[in-house]
């Protein structure tokens, strides 16, 4: 039998970087290096209070990042999480502060509001086939307005430490004796472990990756893609709701009209942590670490004398770097 020999290359040897999850270790290294770097160059940075501060300001971003990892893995994005979390906080807070609702009820409202908007996002993207960028940009603007409406344009201060109903702040930072402990980190870590399990070992996570990898093929495999696609955005909305609680707990006042830009830190953190812009790959742990890189830069740079603007420029450059690594990985994998 005369056959034309088709030249196919040998199987790709997995270099370290091509193994899934390898980026996480590099980011972990970066986090440790940054921490060491700032500690060496600034004695003030090494203080325990600084660590506490970094933790406090990171919770809401980490929670957003955990949630937004899911739409990102499907190849989409959720831009509504920033203004969204402010909106959910204002809504719950209004009920607590001005309507006498108990704090826990306000918290539940915040989270449910997040789930609601998440479902809206999911429906727009999955059922009405709007491009995710557009759909979530619109809900971003909607939640910005809604937030103001809910709070009647006033800032809201959830119950402050010491007052009745302020127990929820202790969830994140608890005072035992004379020292404060960043308890929030424990919860965040647990949530990371939980969502990592969801992503890697449950149908929701598996199909989220499948949709991001090849939506057509997933549909052809008989999977209810419409449902699982919506779920990715519901998860994002849920975690925006949880993030709103973290935000309310850490900051004394929540102002309407703010929040725009929070999503960039969360999404940036996810990308640094290994989420691919084109979908299909990423990890929850990686997103956590990526957010830490951004938070360390945000809080650390002032300690070595660089003001806030520089920190944004450097964060932007680090992000470009992360996206380029992603593109280079893709290009290498595509050379068949």
């Amino acid at each position: 039998m005369n056959k034309m020999v088709v030249n196919t290359p040998a199987e790709k040897k997995g270099s370290f970087l091509s193994k899934p999850g390898s980026q996480k270790f590099i980011v972990l290294l970066v986090v440790i290096c940054l921490f060491v770097f700032f500690s060496i160059f600034s004695p003030n940075f090494r203080k325990y209070t600084t660590i506490l501060s970094i933790m406090d300001y990171s919770y809401y971003i980490v929670l957003m990042a955990i949630g937004v990892t899911f739409p990102l893995i499907t190849g989409g994005v959720d831009l509504s999480i920033g203004t969204g979390l402010i909106c959910y906080s204002l809504a719950g807070g209004y009920l607590v502060v001005h309507c006498g609702w108990p704090t826990w009820a306000g918290m539940i409202v915040s989270v449910l509001f997040g789930v609601l908007i998440g479902t809206l996002n999911g429906t727009l993207v999955s059922i009405m086939s709007l491009p995710p960028f557009l759909a979530t940009l619109c809900t971003c603007m909607i939640t910005r307005g809604l937030g103001s409406i809910c709070s009647k344009s006033f800032g809201i201060s959830w119950p402050t430490s010491g007052s009745e109903g302020s127990w929820f702040r202790d969830i994140f930072k608890i005072t035992i004796g004379d020292t404060k402990y960043p308890l929030g980190f424990v919860w965040v870590l647990l949530l990371v472990l939980l969502m990592a399990f969801v992503l890697n070992h449950t149908k929701i996570g598996r199909y989220t990756i499948a949709i991001g990898s090849n939506k057509e093929a997933t549909i052809l495999s008989g999977i209810n893609v419409k449902f699982y696609h919506i779920m990715a955005y519901v998860i994002s909305g849920l975690f925006a709701g949880l993030a709103s609680i973290a935000y309310s707990a850490v900051f004394s006042t929540v102002q309407p009209g703010t929040g725009a830009g929070f999503e960039l830190e969360a999404i940036g953190g996810a990308i640094i942590g290994g989420v691919s812009a084109s979908g299909g790959s990423g990890s929850v742990g990686g997103s956590l670490l990526g957010v830490f890189v951004i938070c360390l830069l945000k809080t650390g740079l002032p300690y070595i004398g660089l003001q806030a603007n520089w920190q944004q420029i450097i964060t932007g450059l680090v992000l470009i770097g992360a996206v380029m690594v992603d593109i280079l990985k893709k290009r290498k994998a595509a050379t068949v």
Partner: protein, 498 residues
């Protein structure tokens, strides 16, 4: 061969403007490998898509295991035991092999997906099929051949009773094809019914029991492989009456200069050592089956895709073409297959599209000279007889044939002497087709040189002075129109090279 397991009776299916399946009959027995053959557009894929529920038939019946069935989606067909291994792999690159095979039917322990069990089951499956693949390997790290093996394993794991292979060997190495055939022989022993869609004659001869040929949406006939020859099959594939008169001899004078010479062009798998010449005023037809590499060759010449080797000479001089910009500079214009994606800017006007490749001639300082642009667009609308209410009309509102004329005008305004037409009359009605043919002839008479890539045999025979035939990335034949016939071309298009 056992009893009949599947019968498709008088299947009829039409799409707007196209009668894709014309009362087609097809039957598969248990324990047989039944080849389904035909040219591009014959209806093989459409027939299989009707069977597996991707399309709904207009009329006819499908009888499977003695019962009449109708599938509304691939899941239903799969569950019934009819599975198709597609030509384009449907795989999820970011998941492992085992995860791909069992996608949608994962083993679970409560809420947790049991990846360990999936890996074990996948291993068992691979052992049964004598395939050597690690189920924990990431799908995107496998070679295309191994990925195809996984698709086949996945199809089999559905406890299929009928498996359809659509051009399975296209991406496989010789060894992998041997492995594939071993698997197919195994499946045949297990009394599965196997449909094998392919154009590789030699393979058909080796592995199949019967051959069914389709042509232009209709059923031509079924032969027993052992008892027929390659010529018998080819006759069935092309034996049609051509209504438009084929060209009988080349219109190009013997001493016409060579305007384009391509020597040992290489661009990946689809373009291997392709060499040919194009003479002034000639229409050179490029024939071959889908996937032969003709578009890839054209794109490599035009600089749209990178080439890995080969030289291009224009009017005797060697030129470096690394991008379409270079190609256009040297006077080459390329009308791509997919007008809407690569040819026209849909939301812009006739005038704007016409001057797009030569805009620098219409610029005064920083601004575009709209008057000049409109005038020249109007000139070409008249000379090409483009039907449009005006040059301001948005191209999206024109019919296919007229859109094509706008693209042609674009390259003429650019003063291209070498024009590559890729499937120039695809999606265009008969009347407009004739106009495009007249136009091409006129351009050739005026001294332009044309390469015409076409999958329509009648078009090739009607328009070409000479014909180059490609198969799987290589040039497999070259023939003057005076000696050409459908059979000869089809022979060259299905030839394998040792």
């Amino acid at each position: 061969m056992g009893d009949t397991i599947l019968t498709m009776n008088e299947i009829d299916k039409s799409f707007p403007g196209v009668h894709a399946l014309d009362h087609v009959n097809f039957e598969v027995k248990k324990g047989e490998v039944h080849a389904l053959m035909g040219e591009n557009g014959a209806g093989k894929s459409t027939l299989m898509k009707v069977l597996t529920g991707i399309y709904t038939k207009d009329s006819g019946s499908i009888v499977f295991e003695g019962k009449e069935v109708e599938f509304h989606n691939t899941r239903e067909a799969q569950d019934a035991g009819i599975v198709i291994v597609h030509q384009e792999l449907n795989m999820l690159g970011h998941l492992t092999v085992a995860q791909n095979i069992f996608i949608g039917r994962e083993f679970k322990k409560g809420i947790r997906i049991d990846d360990k069990k999936m890996n074990e089951e996948a291993s068992k499956l691979f052992q049964k099929l004598h395939i050597d693949i690690d189920p924990t390997e990431m799908m995107s790290n496998l070679t295309v051949g191994k990925q195809q093996m996984c698709e086949i394993a996945k199809a089999i794991s559905h406890e299929a009773k009928v498996i359809i292979f659509d051009e399975p060997s296209a991406a496989l190495t010789e060894t992998e094809i041997e492995e594939l055939f071993k698997i197919i022989r195994d499946l045949r022993k297990q009394q599965l019914g196997i449909v094998y869609i392919s154009h590789r004659m030699d393979e058909i001869k080796v592995i199949t029991d019967r051959v069914t040929v389709m042509r232009d949406g209709g059923y031509v006939g079924t032969l027993i492989t052992k008892e027929c020859t390659k010529d018998d099959i080819i006759n069935m594939m092309v034996g049609r009456v051509i209504y438009e008169d084929p060209k009988t001899e080349s219109a190009v004078p013997k001493d016409a200069p060579v305007v384009l010479k391509v020597e040992k062009l290489n661009a990946g798998r689809m373009v291997q050592d392709v060499s040919f010449e194009l003479r002034k005023g000639e229409v050179l037809g490029f024939s071959g089956l889908m996937g032969a590499g003709r578009t890839e060759t054209a794109r490599a010449i035009f600089g749209a895709d990178p080439k890995t080797g080969g030289d291009i000479y224009i009017n005797g001089q060697k030129v470096e073409i690394n991008s379409p910009q270079d190609a256009v500079k040297y006077g080459i214009g390329y009308l791509s297959e997919d007008r809407k994606r690569f040819g026209i800017v849909v939301q812009k006007s006739v005038a704007e599209n016409s001057t797009m490749a030569a805009l620098e001639n219409f610029v005064k300082g920083l601004f575009i000279d709209k008057k000049k642009e409109n005038k020249i667009a109007q000139d070409y609308v008249e000379s090409l007889a483009t039907k449009t209410p005006g040059v301001d009309q948005l191209v999206v509102n024109l019919s296919g044939g007229n859109q094509q004329k706008v693209v042609i005008a674009k390259w003429l305004i650019r003063n291209c002497d070498i024009l590559i037409f890729d499937e120039p009359t695809r999606g265009i009605d008969v009347g407009a087709k004739n106009e495009i043919y007249k136009l091409m002839n006129r351009l050739a008479e005026e001294g332009k040189s044309i390469i015409m890539i076409s999958s329509e045999m009648t078009e090739i025979l009607r328009m070409s002075d000479r014909i180059v035939v490609m198969c799987e990335g290589r040039k497999t034949g070259e023939i003057d129109i005076s000696e050409a016939s459908q059979e000869i071309i089809m022979n060259m298009a299905t030839r394998e090279i040792g």
